[in-house]
Symmetry: C2
Subunit: 348 residues, 2 copies
């Protein structure tokens, strides 16, 4: 455990918006999770797409060169494609330099750091632009204090990875805003950070500071303000439970929404690990949350029913809700179930 | 969560032994936790002490210059004193360079990296010695797989930080060895790493990889071999629970020993957080451990009774054992209670 005091210097990572999405030299969309995610979840943030001249690929946005995009409002060129190994492809460099010359900062979620690429570093110095790596946490994250903060907090939690925690948080944030409630979406992963323009990549934080990062991510706020925090992993996941627990403790959520996918009975990517039942997941996650917020409660379940047709999905939502005696909604489908979940979140 | 595969390259950090302890220019022993810890817990690893000429301080070891220490067997010069801020004091540099010239590697637990100090880096290149920072985890730690490993594992867990998890693990490791049982002590913190000469500073690992680091720390072993793993923090600690849970899951312990200090009813250093009761701590920690090892069991409690006199201590050990129906021992006091705990660990 860290004995040496750490200076509070940092804020969360902030990214100039809107974006020009860079597709690199890709010939297929397999490694374009970031670009596709932004197009699908934050279309209004994407002024256009840009790519190497050699590639014919498009994700359906208007093609723009960096200068045109800057005039259209763009302030960052986001690398929306990942290489195997997470490196910067040499063929991209001229295009990224052109972006900086047009006034755009460069944003990357790759494991390798942009500033380790000498031509990019030089161009950034020459043009005065920033190289922003959204996998690099801000400096100076403190150890968590456990101090109770003002304002209200919701955290999406899960039975596994990759089943809708980000999407659920974004949807609930919009639902709160649409009811005139003051709400912020607090991003903890790459795509979430790009969507919100700020956040902390929680899984890249040194373990001693994860809860501290979560405290920093959702600071004191007015009493009726909601922070809707993007969850990560699951306290039941053998690889990532520590990340999830640190995020849970530091977030001090008043309200949990449990995310699950219909039919997901195994932890994906591991052998021999079952996902927990919904009652068990609710009970244990709430119990762990109460260590830092004794009033934490689970308001309901966000159920990913994308594998089902509409009528089967509505039936599963009804049956699960009846069994748990809690609102159960699929945020993608919306409908009255989603309204019930929001009402329960608000304690109405 | 990390989508990009990480290469298995690393081993744990390894430190050449025995040591010459460097006391710097300190005038009091307040910041000498590392040196005092090594002197008290691993006297046989310390050939002597060394210091700046300007300081009169001693921790009671024979004074040796580096050349004499090398002839006496020393292979590392361990910086046993911490500065405020964890930096390398400029007044130390000549002494550390002299150590390298005599054939000693330099070992530091400071936050600042030795190789960022240019005179040290140059001397290391010139002499062919290593600069070893035990707060820097090895490269290439993988994401945990959750795969069951062969051999037996014991993890010390706690109700709080700093109440005897390292000491308990070291004691139990020695007790097992004294019974002819093949055992390794697996270190997860700075002092433990110096004592054992190897280990991983688990709280300095990026959170996504904590469980993976724990898996790497105690690899497959013969069926009757025991790894006795040094615990960190507590799953009840609002700042560090994520570290503790990642270590717990990756360690896959067959046996837990819960460490507590008599009278420690508040989490130290935080306001408003109580330590859990012993039954609650046993129940929850065991439940969480069973996620990756369904056979995990708590063999008993290690109770730090240093605030009590001998007769009061023995009484508390007896009463606690009767209440929990488990062996309860103070490893510092030893005695029949410790024997009972070891027997229960071995399932006898």
């Amino acid at each position: 455990m860290s004995a040496v005091p750490v200076i509070h210097a940092a804020a969360v990572t902030r990214i100039p918006q809107p974006y020009l999405l860079f597709l690199g030299n890709a010939h297929e969309t397999t490694f374009m999770k970031t670009a596709l995610g932004l197009r699908d979840w934050a279309r209004e943030l994407c002024v256009g797409e840009y790519r190497c001249d050699s590639t014919p690929i498009s994700i359906g946005l208007p093609y723009m060169d960096p200068a045109t995009a800057y005039r259209a409002g763009a302030r960052s060129l986001v690398i929306g494609v990942a290489n195997i190994g997470g490196i910067i492809d040499p063929s991209w460099i001229d295009y990224l330099v052109r972006g900086m010359e047009a006034g755009l900062d460069i944003v990357s979620g790759a494991h390798s750091k942009l500033r380790d690429c000498s031509p990019l570093q030089k161009a950034a110095e020459r043009t005065g632009r920033s190289l922003i790596n959204i996998r690099v946490p801000p400096q100076g994250i403190p150890v968590a204090t456990g101090r109770k903060r003002s304002g209200k907090r919701l955290l999406t939690v899960g039975t596994d990875c990759a089943l809708g925690k980000k999407y659920t948080a974004l949807t609930l944030h919009r639902e709160l805003r649409s009811r005139g409630i003051d709400s912020d979406f607090r991003a903890t992963g790459q795509t979430g950070i790009l969507i919100s323009g700020a956040g902390i990549p929680i899984d890249a934080v040194v373990s001693d500071f994860v809860a501290g990062a979560a405290e920093m991510l959702s600071p004191d706020a007015p009493a009726n303000h909601w922070d809707v925090i993007e969850g990560q992993g699951s306290v039941f996941h053998p690889s990532y439970a520590g990340v999830s627990l640190g995020l849970l403790h530091g977030s001090q959520p008043d309200v949990l929404v449990l995310c699950h996918e219909v039919g997901r009975d195994r932890i994906v990517g591991l052998e021999g690990y079952a996902t927990p039942s919904l009652p068990e997941a609710i009970e244990l996650t709430t119990r762990l949350a109460r260590m830092t917020n004794p009033n934490a409660r689970c308001a309901g379940v966000s159920l990913n029913t994308s594998r089902l047709d509409e009528s089967a999905a509505r039936q599963v939502l009804r049956e699960t809700s009846a069994a748990l005696k809690l609102p159960v909604a699929d945020p993608v489908r919306g409908g009255p179930e989603l309204g019930e979940l929001v009402e329960r979140i608000l304690g109405r």
